[in-house]
């Protein structure tokens, strides 16, 4: 465990900014850091004549890479925050956003639209149905997990698993009925996750959701620490565990639904990032919550840059990179840990 001073946090923020800059620069069309700063300067008012080449680079930078890098950062931060929170709420280190049934609910909603060709809400229908599917799955799991006024961790885990498996089975049946190549590619996006379609207009909703989620979870940091103790001890310290679980479960379900509806189902991040940070920072949620915001964002931006870069011009699903990159880091840190 390391101590985090103000300087350490400042260093972490600067490191994240550097990662973002490098991610903006990397890709099939190469951009230098000078290109990025020149373009930034131009947009901030130091106007000068654009050549065609510069204009092309500007479009790539702000219309393609910027929304993608931002969405990667926001989804990584959001999924890590949710993972860390759910682990405290169910007191189970294996818990992750997948346990809320959100990913499988979102996939089912999206695949239903893709395969059936429903276009009631135009282009937004896939995102909308994914969001509704995610929220519906989380709500079902929440209501089944309740035992009167109490909220059972064991029930939540088993209900989450059962509902997730059922929804995935339904998704598989739908995929089985898909017969067009285009449909299959879209389905792939939802089952493996991708940030490829990100646009600037998509950013405000996840940005507001992640920042709001971060602020609310940071306000609950002391309660989350107390929640890590056993139930009677936490009660003795004045924690209303049932109310905390109820409120934060809904917050996590809504936040994950927003992210998954934008990016598809990206696994492993919500489980792995909080655990790696626990090994570095300890279990103190006063450090873990800001740590997840910065660490989750940084990790996902790196994973997305690798997904674009490794087999350029082809792109590999980001879920493959998060698993390939995350597992060895996780194992190395775990082996070196004494606690």
């Amino acid at each position: 465990m390391i101590k985090m001073s103000r300087w350490s946090w400042l260093f972490a923020v600067l490191l994240l900014l550097l990662i973002m800059l490098l991610a903006l620069a990397s890709g099939s069309a190469s951009l230098s850091l000078i290109d990025i700063f020149t373009s930034l300067g131009h947009h901030l008012g130091e106007g000068q004549e654009w050549s065609d080449d510069r204009q092309g680079k500007d479009v790539i930078l702000w219309s393609i890479r910027f929304p993608r890098v931002m969405l990667a950062g926001l989804s990584g931060a959001g999924l890590s925050l949710v993972g860390a929170t759910i682990q405290a709420l169910v007191r189970n280190p294996m818990a992750d956003p997948w346990l809320l049934g959100v990913s499988s609910g979102a996939s089912l909603g999206a695949v239903l639209v893709i395969v059936s060709g429903l276009s009631l809400f135009g282009l937004a229908s896939i995102h909308l149905m994914a969001f509704l599917g995610a929220l519906a799955a989380a709500s079902v799991i929440y209501f089944i997990s309740r035992q009167g006024a109490h909220f059972s961790s064991t029930r939540l885990i088993f209900t989450g698993l059962a509902i997730s498996f059922s929804l995935e089975a339904l998704t598989q049946i739908l995929i089985f009925t898909a017969n067009h190549q285009a449909q299959m590619q879209n389905v792939m996006f939802w089952t493996m996750g991708s940030l490829g379609g990100a646009e600037n207009k998509d950013l405000p909703l996840p940005a507001v959701s992640v920042m709001l989620g971060f602020i609310l979870l940071f306000r609950c940091r002391n309660q989350l620490n107390v929640a890590c103790l056993n139930e009677v001890k936490a009660f003795s310290l004045g924690l209303d565990f049932n109310a905390l679980r109820r409120h934060l479960f809904l917050l996590c379900a809504a936040l994950t639904s927003v992210i998954v509806s934008m990016t598809g189902s990206i696994g492993f991040v919500g489980l792995m990032v909080p655990h790696v940070l626990r090994l570095i920072l300890g279990n103190d949620y006063r450090l873990l919550i800001p740590g997840c915001l910065l660490g989750g964002a940084g990790f996902m931006i790196i994973a997305d840059a690798l997904a674009r870069h490794l087999f350029s011009p082809h792109e590999i699903p980001i879920g493959v990179i998060t698993a390939l990159l995350g597992s060895p880091i996780f194992i190395v840190l775990m082996r070196g840990s004494h606690d």
Binding site: C228, L237, D284, H338, D339
Partner: protein, 253 residues
């Protein structure tokens, strides 16, 4: 005005599912008294403490603290009045001694200055021989050190009432005697589940004997601990050595 350290249970019964664990329990604890709760395994001792804490809800009867009913007391207010030390090790993975103790400040946020509280924390750690463990991970502490740490954490909640479930487990004889002596001098009202009848006779002002979820006897140690009650409760023969101040020693067999 009733002393906030006074505690009363009136006709309390507790059931879990269809199983009645406690039946018609009534007693009054005066401020600052130290009570020992004694009984064979499964007699309802831990359930009694959890019910007093408010964690388990009675199916009948009332509990009051300082004359106020416990049932409608807000969670944080209740935790400033009562603290609980449990028998089984709490989940402590990934905490350092310092951050574990800081959890006790949670109910006091807005009620006490953090700097003052921290100074008190250091004094208590010194007193309970934990000062040099300040930066240790909890996983490397011995069972006895953890037990002392949990007691210090409970005291840092600044409660009027302490509920202690088998506190002396894992403690060597030196710390058993030291901690019980210190507890005896504290102004808080104390209710503790104990298995060692000699320690209970020596340190408790009153003893509550439980059998099958009912009160078997309630009174001063010299009045309730005798060869007959011990035989009927535990099925063990004993010989009690008495002196003018009360019981001096209980001999087994």
């Amino acid at each position: 005005m009733i002393d906030p350290r006074a505690l009363a249970m009136q006709n309390v019964s507790v059931s879990i599912g269809t199983c009645m664990i406690l039946q018609n329990i009534s007693f009054d604890v005066k401020p600052s008294e130290c009570w020992g709760i004694i009984g064979p395994n499964g007699s309802g001792k831990s359930t009694l403490l959890k019910t007093l804490l408010g964690f388990l809800r009675p199916c009948q009867g009332t509990i009051s603290i300082g004359g106020r009913p416990l049932r409608h007391m807000p969670a944080l207010e209740r935790s400033r009045k009562m603290a609980y030390v449990q028998q089984e090790g709490t989940s402590m993975q990934g905490f350092k001694v310092r951050s574990f103790l800081e959890l006790a400040f949670h109910p006091l946020i807005g009620f006490q200055d953090y700097g003052e509280w921290q100074a008190e924390c250091e004094v208590l750690c010194q007193e309970f021989d934990l000062k040099d463990k300040w930066d240790f991970a909890l996983s490397v502490l011995s069972g006895g050190e953890r037990q002392r740490l949990m007691l210090v954490q409970s005291l840092l909640q600044k409660p009027h009432i302490l509920l202690l479930d088998e506190l002396t487990n894992h403690l060597d004889i030196y710390f058993q005697l030291e901690i019980l002596k210190k507890l005896k001098q504290l102004p808080q009202t104390k209710l503790m589940v104990l298995h060692d009848l000699n320690l209970a006779a020596r340190f408790c002002d009153r003893i509550l004997l439980l059998q099958d979820g009912r009160i078997f006897a309630n009174g001063e140690p010299s009045a309730v601990l005798n060869e007959d009650s011990i035989l009927r409760l535990f099925g063990v023969k004993s010989r009690i050595h008495r002196q003018a101040a009360g019981i001096s020693h209980i001999q087994w067999g």
